[in-house]
């Protein structure tokens, strides 16, 4: 059987989650490997959530927020951009494949972008294979 990765998504309520809904409403097809946690704003995402997700066995983590400047809380994603950038650098220096973590700005009207990103990211994670470095073995 081919490798079916588990991908954790964390999406902001106002843009990316709504964009994901739009992808559904317009019946776009994308791989089913992504499971999305809804938070109110991408700025809610604590870096430890991401470390934890990899420990829980996520093969990839995809974060979605509003485009910079369009945040429903004005500036939340501008803080998130910095904080998530640092998170990415930390993962990278610890030896995790940088391609396993991705941040995308997807607005409520970008259902197609959501589907494209998920498709592309899933393919990328498949090519990276299972994530074993952080995963806590039972």
């Amino acid at each position: 059987m081919s490798f079916e990765p588990k991908i954790l998504g964390i999406a902001c309520n106002w843009c990316t989650y709504t964009g994901a809904d739009l992808a559904g409403t317009t019946r776009l097809q994308y791989p089913q490997n992504l499971r999305v946690v809804r938070v109110m704003c991408s700025s809610r995402i604590n870096p430890s959530f991401i470390f934890r997700a990899f420990q829980l066995g996520a093969d990839g983590v995809l974060i979605g927020g509003c485009h910079p400047g369009d945040c429903h809380y004005n500036t939340g994603n501008l803080y998130a951009r910095r904080r998530l950038a640092v998170t990415k650098k930390i993962l990278e220096f610890s030896g995790l494949e940088p391609g396993r973590f991705r941040v995308e700005w997807i607005s409520a009207s970008e259902g197609n972008k959501f589907a494209e990103v998920v498709t592309e990211f899933t393919a990328q994670i498949k090519s990276l294979g299972p994530q074993t470095k952080f995963k806590i073995s039972q």
Partner: protein, 288 residues
């Protein structure tokens, strides 16, 4: 030019005495004798008579800024600061943990400080590449000039070149050694949370016993908490009983932060800590 540690010690004593006598400071944070010359101790002088106990030598690595947050607001504190230590003070001022006007900074321009465990000279490794304090009120000696400037990030080169498998193996080995004594956060001037996130029960971020996954969670999160704040004094690594080179990871994060946000920690009291700040024109490239 060579550094006369004795001369610095004398000046430290003189200034400490003057400040305590005049009431300009009610405590002086400096160094005192330990069980041998290689192991001086952090020392707090409260009375002019205490000043005789003050010492300074090449093993006085402690970052005395660590102790500033222990005193009630408004306490007038004089503190001996080397280059990295002064950056810690600046960072604490940025974070509004201490007020500039409550402090007298006794700046120590110095090089050739040594790690008592290894006898290794720490210049360029854990001094942020600086010899002179960034901020001071009184300078105990002449500014150091002409000493080779070393980039604080040079020591990273070998680790950056490692492929990700080797780097993961390296850090896994290091983090697996951790016995969770928390000496690193005790020694760190910027770790003033009480309780620390890892001590929380709700939520439980990671296992509290020394297991690999809890260790990983503790260290990676701590690196994030210190991102844009770590001033490269190296105290975490010297405090570590199992010799985890934490300073390397902190340095890497500091380097990335400096490149991404154009600001190094503790260089100006006008700055805002980089991770609770943003610029509208921060590039999305930083996420790539």
């Amino acid at each position: 030019m060579t550094i006369s540690f004795k001369q610095i010690e004398e000046k430290l004593k003189t200034e400490a005495k003057r400040l305590l006598e005049s009431g300009q400071a009610s405590v002086v944070l400096a160094y005192g004798k330990g069980y041998d010359e290689k192991h001086p101790m952090p020392y707090v002088a409260r009375n002019p008579s205490d000043v005789a106990n003050i010492v300074f030598n090449e093993y006085c690595n402690y970052n005395m800024a660590r102790y500033l947050v222990r005193y009630p607001a408004g306490t007038k504190i004089a503190v001996a600061v080397k280059a990295a230590d002064s950056r810690a003070v600046i960072q604490l001022i940025q974070e509004e943990k201490v007020k500039r006007e409550d402090l007298v900074l006794l700046g120590i321009p110095v090089y050739g400080m040594k790690n008592p465990k290894t006898q290794e000279i720490i210049d360029g490794k854990t001094t942020g590449g600086l010899y002179n304090p960034v901020l001071y009120d009184i300078l105990l000696g002449d500014e150091v000039h002409g000493q080779a400037i070393q980039s604080p990030y040079d020591v990273l080169a070998a680790y950056e070149l490692m492929d990700k498998e080797a780097r993961f193996a390296f850090w896994k080995k290091e983090f697996d050694k951790c016995i969770r004594c928390y000496a690193c956060r005790k020694a760190c001037p910027m770790c003033y949370c009480d309780p620390c996130f890892i001590d929380q029960n709700k939520p439980k971020w990671g296992d509290k016993s020394p297991q690999s996954h809890g260790n990983l969670m503790y260290h990676l999160t701590r690196f994030h908490h210190l991102a844009g704040r770590c001033i490269d004094c190296g105290e975490c690594s010297r405090a570590c009983p199992v010799d985890i080179p934490l300073y390397l990871f902190h340095k890497k994060v500091a380097k990335e932060c400096e490149e991404m946000f154009g600001q190094a920690a503790g260089m100006s009291i006008e700055d805002k800590p980089a991770l609770v700040n943003f610029r509208v024109d921060d590039s999305d490239k930083i996420l790539e």
